[in-house]
Amino acid sequence: MSIYESAVKKPIMTSLCFIAIALFGLFSLSKLPIDLYPDIETNTLMVFTYYNGASASDIENNVTRPLENTLNSVEHLKHIKSDSRENVSVITLEFEFGYDIDNLTNDVRDKLDMVSSSLPDEANTPIIFKFSTDMIPIIVMSVKAEESQSALYKILDDNVANPLARIDGVGSVSIAGAPEREINIYMDPIKMEAYNIPVETVSSIIAAENRNIPGGNFDVGNNTYSLRVEGEFKDPRQMMDLVVGTHNGANVYLKDIARIVDNVQERSQHTYIEGQQGAMIIVQKQSGGNSVAISKAVKEELPNLQKRLPSDVELEIMIDTSDNILNTVNTLSSTIRDAMIFVVLVVFIFLGRWRATVIIAITIPFSLVASFIYLFATGGSINIISLSCLSIAIGSVVDDAIVVLENVTSHIERGSDPNNAAVHGTNEVAVSVIASTLTMWAVFFPLTMVTGMSGVLFKQLGWMMCIIMLISTAAALSLTPMMCAKMLKLQKKQSKFFITFYKPIQKVLDIIDIKYAIAVNWAMRHRWTTLAACFGLFLVSLLCAKGIKSEFFPANDNGRVGVSLEMPIGTRIERSQEVGLRLTKLWMDRYGDQLIACGFTTGQADENNTFASLSDNGTHIISFNIMFVPSNEREKSLEILCDEMRADLKMFPELAKSNVMLGGSQGGGMGGQSMASFEIYGYDMETTDRLSKELASSLREWEKVTQVNISRSDYQPQYIVDFDREKLAMHGLNLSTAANYMRNRYNGALATYYREDGDEYDVKVRYEPNARQSINDIENIVIYGSNGQPVRIKELGKVVLNEMPPTIERKDRERIVTVDAVLAAGTALSDGVNYGQAIIDKMDIPAGISIEVAGSYEDQQDSNRDLGQLAIIILVMVFIVMASQFESLTYPFILMISVLFAISGVLLALFITGTNLNVMSMLGSIMLIGIVVKNGIVLIDYTMLLRERGLGVIQACVGAAKSRMRPVLMTTLTTILGMVPLAVSQGVGAEMWRPLGIAIIGGLTVSTIMTLIYVPAMYGIFAGNGIQNRRRAIKKQRELQAYWNENKETEQLKGKDKKH
């Protein structure tokens, strides 16, 4: 018993099976996390090697190079980049996508073990660090405070950070911009000198006094008591009364030579929120956590946290990544809903019966929901890709059901009873339904095998489509016949509503049928003219291709902008703050309500703050975090806003460098702004510096370039104390003791920790701030020789101004400078790259130096190549499926050519709408291959059927065209209209999938119209030739036979003669 027969006979089993699938699907849906993109596995590893005291070039030669040479042999390595800075070498290994990062980590570790013995002795063991997208903060909160500013760190740490960290899924909570408490003991250098008490003495005395020491146990009578000395300070001021030395027989107290300031760290980051000082709280999720759920939990907790805070501390969400995700997902969900409505409407208009419409429509939810089971099983998430996949699928899942239903209806109309009609009607089309599903599989299965960045996106889509198609076919072969058997019946009398509503529609459809049949008839009689016209259009559309710009990935408008500003190196923090505040005022005045949050941080990060120290920081660096309202609530796109900000920054001559980052972080890859990157390889730093500056200034001249960044930073000014070793030796000192003395006076000596309420605070002893302000002050530092004699630094050496070489960057084992040009909104990446290439061609590049285009253009080229290969594989697979189905090589060939018209449709649509060619529109074009040939299959299949029934070529073509136009139009319209909501949606994130929708609509519309005319004409040519060939062959055969009959005897004799 076939599947459809048993389905019709066992309606309960069939419907319950599908309900079970739906239940599983809905259960999975409820468990699925929501995210913006599919989980992109990390493909980078970093290797940190600390080598204290080594300069950048020492690090490069002694650490980075040996490590690079060894690590280069790790498998699947794509690029190896390194930064050699003072004290540290950072090597970034970028692997090909799709390999298990844990295995790669082990490989890297093995290689490091091999090489570590050849590293300098002083160098620490290399540390492997895995960077993943999970480390990107999911929520950034701004904190405004007034009186509580000085105690802000403790307040936030106790009342916000700790409770938040306890929320399930939250990885780490860090506080930025709120300096930690520190007890500073500022020594007066002149008094110290007078009393002859050095910093070291004071610091060791404080350390020795601030102790609790257990004295053991002792017995009194029957009891044992413990003995303790409790000397820890209860109040920092107690330290002032310590005796730190004697002078002329009198005690010298600490208060005589120093003052105590119980305040905050001297060097720290400061954060300003909307012009007011405050702090930022950064929440990161645990690896694999559900960002949306976590940020929901965090937001729910906020009111409670606010209650615990002092009244002047105001807590607000500044950046919430889940907002963008939710808005995007909501927009996409509503396009899915719209698509479903459109599809159901189309089906209703064409079929004119509500029962038939219900039967078709019910397959949509079942097939779509089934894909959630796959997502749940493989740990996927609801994201842009999986949702757009659903949106694409809606139009296609109904196709199979429509074919089955149509045939069952025709059986019923011929007089079969519904049960039999359902079984036999399905039986007749089952093979072609399966074949058409196989063509879809031929398209989507190869998608699961794409590697690289686009592979991450397409893998999920490919699998989901395959599964949705499988379920939809299963439903078409079991659920649809079952429902047809139960619900359809021969309509003997039309209802009044049906007549008034449906008759006009039917009339229009009938007219289209007739007109189309006439057109096909004409085309059949003017085959070559028709073909010439079709290919003419194809050539015209190729001309349009010149006007289409390309980019890698559409920029995602998430409302976030990051601005990173650099003042000249060494600018004081006060100066940076002032510039930051001016910019804040400028932007807040201009954008007003459009701005949700605008805050900046400046200053040197504390070593303990991992989040802050991962990014660039320093007193001269200002980093802005700006959040705009969602894209559908403002007129200007984020790209334009960024360009405006860049124009503003040009008016601040005091800025040495500025970088406005769309989306909040650097990276033109996915979702960022188009950026043309040029890599200059070469060993000589001076030449590469010169070339990079030349290239950057030429690029800046072009009005389409809004910002140019050079990756190599400027030489940093620094003071060097150049000790004279002989003089040091005369005083019984060596270089490190002398340097330590200096460090203790300037940076401060960490004397001890002051404990209060279970928290520890640093107690630092150092010179008064006003005694640390000039070269003179440095030169006058007093240090003590081994005999206790004081001596000034200027007697031991000299202080000179010097420049520190910048970080040495390398890529693939060569020194490199990267020049990034950010392009203005609406400028295609290809234009930027071409412009840059033209400049490079004109430049005089010395031997040994090469300039290459890299960055997102390289990614784009890679993915274009991948997609190109994919398209070829798909074409071959589709051809194989069709050739097997038709048992012919010519008919599939006719259909494959119709793919050309899909291409011209895509090109025309992109050209007319001014959309860029990117990964999303290419994806759409690839999917078209399957959808387009499906239309052709339907036409050719029926033409062949009519020919088998004995009709002539022209009659068969016209007959097939007339009879199959409605199904073809119907399946095409469901797909096109299913895409319309995607193509026109204006909501948050719509810019991501609009190119996909436009490409599919354009390609499908043009290719369907062309297919309807071109396929019959082309079929006519091939079939006509076939008939002629066959006739010729028959004629030849007949002539041969006649000849044989006439000359049988002579021919046989000839043969015999030859034998002799």
């Binding site: 059986h411 011929r414 007089g415 079969s416 009873d417 049960n419 039999n420 009609a421 079984v423 036999h424 039986n427 007749e428 062949m944 059927l945 009519l946 088998e948 029934r949």
Partner: protein
Amino acid sequence: MKSIFITFDISHKEKIVDMLTHNSCRGYSFFDQIQGRGSKTGDPHYGSHAWPSMCGSIITIVDDNKVAKILKDIEAIDKETPQLGLRAFVWNIEQQY
């Protein structure tokens, strides 16, 4: 005793069997999925790509008095859905065991 050979579009099968039962005719032999075409009208039933539908046939041996009624019923079914195709032929049974 007469033999009735009924040949029909396969989707008639249940109706024919019901009709025979209704006429208290218990025994029959059914040939499933056979090919055929009508002498004058009616689509061929080849189970092929061009003509996907198939025939079924039933041979039943009935008492002489039942034949007229059965043929009448068969005609009624055929009139209802002339496009599907349904024919019946009757001949004598010479012997049986």
